[in-house]
């Protein structure tokens, strides 16, 4: 096994609400080697998205350690985490989360601009070309189809040269045909660039394309299937 890009040890997360504490993650141990594609599956409320947030440094764990690309996230404060994300991590959301008042080009250039890059627009244009949207540079999200919006979101996640891409149900808001195209794009970019890809999905076919699939239930990893994702999903069901 290659050196893990993501390493979780005994990760637990408890949130406190008015109704009392809620245990969302309970003792997760997981290594994701560099360049791997990992699918996270499980029923709603099992902790998939939370696990993704923990990997992105968006949620601080209550117990355990999280290391990404050799950096222990618990040693970073909120702003250092944001800078680390801008440098190393790209995120693709189910609802795309493009900024509605910015064009496709501006949306993709945004992480580079936040990082202070001088050639942000040029790099963003190249990235949009890679996802097949060179003709939509000046279009606003409202003027793009759902599939196009998700392609912009993928370009935005990859434009900084992220070593870890986290995708939260990237096809959840798309029809099957468009979803398939997006998945094809995501995996072809992975093949070309070799970044680590972790995605949360309910889609068996999508999970089936990952090299490993982790099944979560009740805040724990119930099983990890290697190369046999369909079987894992079947077991969980």
């Amino acid at each position: 096994m290659k050196d893990p890009l993501v390493s979780l040890r005994g990760v637990a997360l408890t949130l406190h609400s008015n109704a009392g504490p809620v245990e969302i993650l309970r003792g997760i141990d997981l290594d994701v080697p560099a360049g791997e594609t990992l699918g996270l599956v499980g029923p709603s409320g099992s902790g998939k998205s939370t696990l993704l947030m923990v990997m992105a440094g968006l949620e601080a764990v209550t117990a355990g350690t999280v290391e990404v690309d050799g950096t222990a996230l618990k040693d970073l404060n909120e702003d250092a985490l944001a800078r680390f994300r801008g440098d190393a991590i790209g995120i693709v959301f189910q609802s795309f989360h493009l900024i509605p008042t910015m064009t496709a080009l501006e949306n993709v250039a945004l992480p580079l601009e936040l990082a202070g890059a001088r050639d942000a627009q040029e790099k963003a244009a190249l990235e949009l070309d890679q996802v097949g949207l060179s003709h939509r540079l000046d279009h606003y999200p409202g003027q793009l189809s759902g599939g196009e919006q998700q392609r912009v979101a993928i370009a935005r996640a990859l434009v900084t040269g992220a070593r870890l891409v986290l995708a939260d149900e990237p096809t959840g808001n798309l029809d099957q045909e468009t979803g398939t195209k997006i998945v094809d794009l995501l995996f072809s970019l992975h093949a070309a660039r070799g970044m680590t890809l972790v995605l949360v999905t309910h889609d068996r076919d999508l999970a089936g394309r990952c090299s490993r699939v982790a099944h979560l239930a009740d805040g724990r990893i119930a099983s990890i299937a290697s190369g046999q994702p369909s079987a894992a999903i079947a077991t969980a069901s």
């Binding site: 406190h16 968006l58 990082a115």
Partner: protein
């Protein structure tokens, strides 16, 4: 790795992109800031325009480069020679007198005579009706002197040009009326209309007698010798060194109308405080608008966080956005504020007789802009500080660990610094520091109280209020639910209303005091300039007119304080409220006994037959303000002669009794041999007043009568006009409150739309929903108005009782009107929002949610 934050250029670029969605959410922000800044800029520009007029036209207003003023005596030959040698000179005498006419059935009227020589005016021109030349209007023709008069006197005595008018022993012909008197402003506050005549005509009146209150002014046109201000200053210094004993008051074109300048500065100060209140009320709207805007940007902020934006970067982006919009509002407001005085030039000319000219005055505009920026920061740092804490995880699920309601401590400190800077700027810019401090404390206390009130209201509704009817229950719940407009409504409307209530209560109390209380205690007349040999006859005349008349007479002189405790009056740093004592001439008297209406508070009164070294009794609060006490020596210049006396005792005086009271009362031996006149107050039955006035005017033409009722009416009118002016500006606060209120209520539109849809789907009728909203809005209005009545009454009570020292009476009309107006305003604006929600179809709404 990403930098700690982003450059301001990038922040501005991202902020600009974020605004592409339109400025709709910022309408209230822009309106509040622009209206507040415009008010301050406009008021500051008006004051600056007037002050610039006085400063620029100083020579015209003064009637020369320099003026030497004397009271009760003409210049000595030596003084006259000195003045004449300095340049072209003009002698002008002013005094008050009674004017009557055989052709009029009206009672005699108090007028202000101005007697001029041939050289008058040295600068500018007097404009008379019918383009009559001044000389032609005033000279003696066929043995009759001519006068030019204020048109108001024609109306008061019901006369026409060509009619005759009597002033003392003179009967003159009214040749024309005065249109422009260029040096009018130097006379200060005038109690009667102007009568312009020649020096020869003044002599013919025989009003100028020893001790008469005549002001002699010697204006000099210095020509090239005083072309620069420095040269003029050097000339004045030289004059003071050469004739130190003359006791004259020297004014130059550089401070031609100090009283008018002071008046403008004070009025400008109060107006600006009222404008600043409007801006601060608007601050609530600014805060609401930014909070609402940032609420709609939570997803964007979370996305930016996920893409690597740090908290400081988020703060910088949205701060840039707020400052960009604030800059837009401020620039527009400054343009409007600078243009308003120019637009209202004709009104300004009527208000203060100063030659005003349109011009840009950067200082008040800069002050307004800085106030605008500081208020923007003070009211937006809270929501901006919170926005930087929005977690990126927000994008993944609705409920994350609850976000702190308060921004980080450094933002709270920054807000405190901004608020302190507002107070510091007001303190640095305006002279009246004590009032500024009271104002700041009052505003802060009001804010704290209003905030507490809104929290209290919400808490009370949550804990106890539980109506029987569903509408009432709904209304009460709306008042404390998350996102309730209660705090915004109470804060915005409360402050504006409290200000209006304060001013209305002061006005009501003042009006009542002028109308009812004073005449019971106040004398009917003040008679001035009673010559010592006329006193007995005068008293007999009064007694014959009304047996029961109460008469009080005192000897009176005019004199100027020149030294206190060994220090020249000009060097004394007197307390602000007593500085007037050092300005110009004061009335002086002497008395063997402690005057009525006075109470000895320190030292001892001199024996009845005291003839020792000169002693003086001073009013305690004034001595304290001037920094002198018992045993200190003071010097007074009377008719060009210096007198010194030692302070023997201090008195407390009931000024409001309107009896005769003097700041300084000397031992009789000190002053009784100086030429003086007598002052008398007469308290009598109102219906006999006119008869006495005619009798005294007929028998003693040189005696001037001031009818208390008319004087009080004049002062009352002036006070009321001032109050109206301040109230006018305060109305802007109320307009601002309504803008903020409308914004606060409109921001809840979406939530109300959804609520209405759900309620309808559950069986609520439109009437039920409307009634619930009506109860809720009326509740806000009533609670806020009650607060405004309470705080406004306390503030007005403090001003009336402690500042004006008048009796206080609670007026029921003001609270009733306030409660009514506040309720109507909130209900109307609330229902404007609710009405639209009632028409929406629930099915469509619920599907889209």
């Amino acid at each position: 790795m990403n930098p700690q934050t982003i450059s301001w250029t990038t922040a501005l670029k991202l902020a600009w992109r974020d605004l592409r969605g339109g400025l709709g959410g910022f309408r209230v922000f822009l309106a509040c800031l622009a209206l507040g800044v415009m008010t301050i800029a406009a008021l500051g520009s008006v004051a600056a325009t007037l002050e610039a007029g006085i400063s620029r036209e100083g020579r015209t207003i003064l009637g020369g480069d320099v003026e030497f003023g004397l009271v009760q005596r003409r210049a000595t030959p030596e003084e006259r020679r000195f003045v004449t040698e300095a340049g072209r000179m003009s002698e002008v005498a002013t005094l008050r007198a009674m004017a009557s006419s055989a052709q009029s059935s009206r009672p005699p009227a108090l007028v202000e005579i101005k007697a001029v020589d041939d050289a008058y005016p040295l600068v500018a021109q007097v404009k008379l009706a019918g383009a009559v030349a001044l000389e032609q209007a005033l000279n003696e023709q066929d043995g009759i002197h001519g006068v030019a008069i204020d048109p108001a006197l024609l109306a008061r005595l019901d006369l026409q040009p060509g009619d005759r008018i009597s002033l003392g022993s003179l009967t003159a012909e009214i040749r024309t009326t005065i249109e422009v008197e260029p040096d009018r402003l130097t006379s200060g506050f005038m109690v009667g209309p102007r009568v312009l005549m020649t020096r020869a005509a003044l002599d013919a009146t025989e009003l100028v007698q020893p001790g008469s209150l005549v002001r002699w002014r010697y204006r000099v046109d210095l020509g090239d010798a005083a072309s620069s201000d420095d040269a003029l200053r050097a000339f004045i210094d030289g004059t003071e060194a050469e004739l130190p004993e003359s006791g004259w008051r020297i004014r130059s074109r550089m401070n031609a109308a100090p009283n008018a300048s002071r008046f403008i500065e004070r009025l400008g100060f109060f107006m600006t405080l009222a404008g600043l209140t409007a801006l601060i009320v608007g601050g609530v709207g600014v805060a609401n608008a930014v909070r609402n805007h940032l609420d709609t940007r939570i997803a964007t902020i979370a996305t930016l966080k996920c893409l690597g934006a740090t908290g400081p970067a988020i703060f910088r982006i949205y701060l840039s956005q707020v400052l960009m919009l604030a800059g837009l509002a401020i620039v527009a407001a400054l343009a409007a504020g600078a243009a308003l005085p120019a637009a209202g030039m004709s009104i300004l000319s009527d208000l203060v007789p100063v030659p005003v000219r349109a011009g840009l005055h950067p200082a008040p505009l800069a002050i307004a802009a800085v106030f605008g920026v500081l208020v923007t920061l003070a009211f937006t740092l809270w929501p901006l500080g919170r926005a930087r804490n929005v977690p990126g995880a927000t994008l993944f699920r609705d409920i994350v660990a609850p976000q702190s309601r308060r921004p980080a401590m450094r933002f709270l400190l920054a807000i405190a610094v901004c608020l302190a800077a507002i107070v510091a700027l007001a303190l640095a810019w305006y002279e009246n520091r004590l009032i500024t401090v009271y104002y700041a404390a009052g505003t802060a206390a009001s804010f704290a109280l209003l905030w507490g009130l809104s929290r209290g209201l919400m808490s009370f509704m949550r804990r106890t209020a539980n109506g029987k009817r569903p509408e009432t229950r709904l209304a009460f719940r709306n008042m404390h639910r998350p996102g309730t407009p209660a705090p915004s409504v109470v804060l915005s409307l409360g402050l504006g209303l409290a200000l209006i209530v304060t001013l209305a209560m002061i006005d009501t109390n003042l009006s009542r005091e002028m109308r009812t209380s004073l005449p019971d205690r106040a004398p009917s007349f003040f008679f001035l300039d009673i010559q010592p040999d006329q006193l007995d006859d005068f008293l007999t005349t009064v007694a014959e007119s009304d047996n029961n008349a109460e008469i009080e007479t005192v000897p009176m002189l005019r004199g100027r304080l020149t030294e206190l405790a060994g220090r020249a009056a000009g060097e004394i740093n007197a307390r602000e409220d007593v500085r007037w004592v050092l300005r110009g001439d004061r009335g002086l008297t002497y008395a063997a006994e402690l005057p009525e209406g006075s109470r000895l508070v320190a030292g001892e009164w001199w024996p009845h037959d005291y003839t020792g070294a000169p002693l003086v009794s001073m009013v305690d609060e004034i001595a304290e303000g001037l920094g002198v006490g018992i045993g200190d020596e003071i010097a007074v210049n009377v008719l060009g002669r210096p007198f010194t006396a030692t302070i023997a005792n201090l008195r407390a005086v009931e000024w409001e009794s309107l009896g005769i009271n003097f700041v300084m009362v000397f031992t009789p031996a000190t002053l009784q041999n100086a030429p003086h006149t007598h002052l008398a107050t007469i308290t009598m039955e109102a219906e006999r007043e006119t008869a006495l006035l005619r009798e005294v005017s007929g028998r003693f033409p040189n005696i001037t009568a001031i009818r208390m009722k008319e004087a009080l009416d004049t002062i009352g009118d002036l006070l009321r006009k001032l109050l109206y002016a301040i109230r006018g500006v305060s109305l802007i606060s109320l307009v601002m409150s309504v803008v903020v209120l409308a914004g606060a209520l409109a921001s809840g539109y979406r939530a109300r739309l959804y609520d209405a849809a759900v309620l309808k789907s559950l069986g609520a009728t439109r009437r039920t929903i409307l009634t619930a909203h009506l109860i809720e809005y009326a509740g806000y209005g009533i609670v806020t108005a009650l607060f405004a009545v309470l705080t406004g009454s306390i503030a007005a009570f403090a001003v009336i009782t402690y500042v004006m020292d008048l009796p206080w009476q609670f007026s029921l009309i003001v609270p009733l009107a306030t409660v009514g107006a506040a309720t109507v305003i909130t209900v109307i604006f609330g229902l404007l929002t609710s009405w639209r929600t009632l028409g929406a179809k629930p099915a469509r709404l619920l599907r889209s949610n």
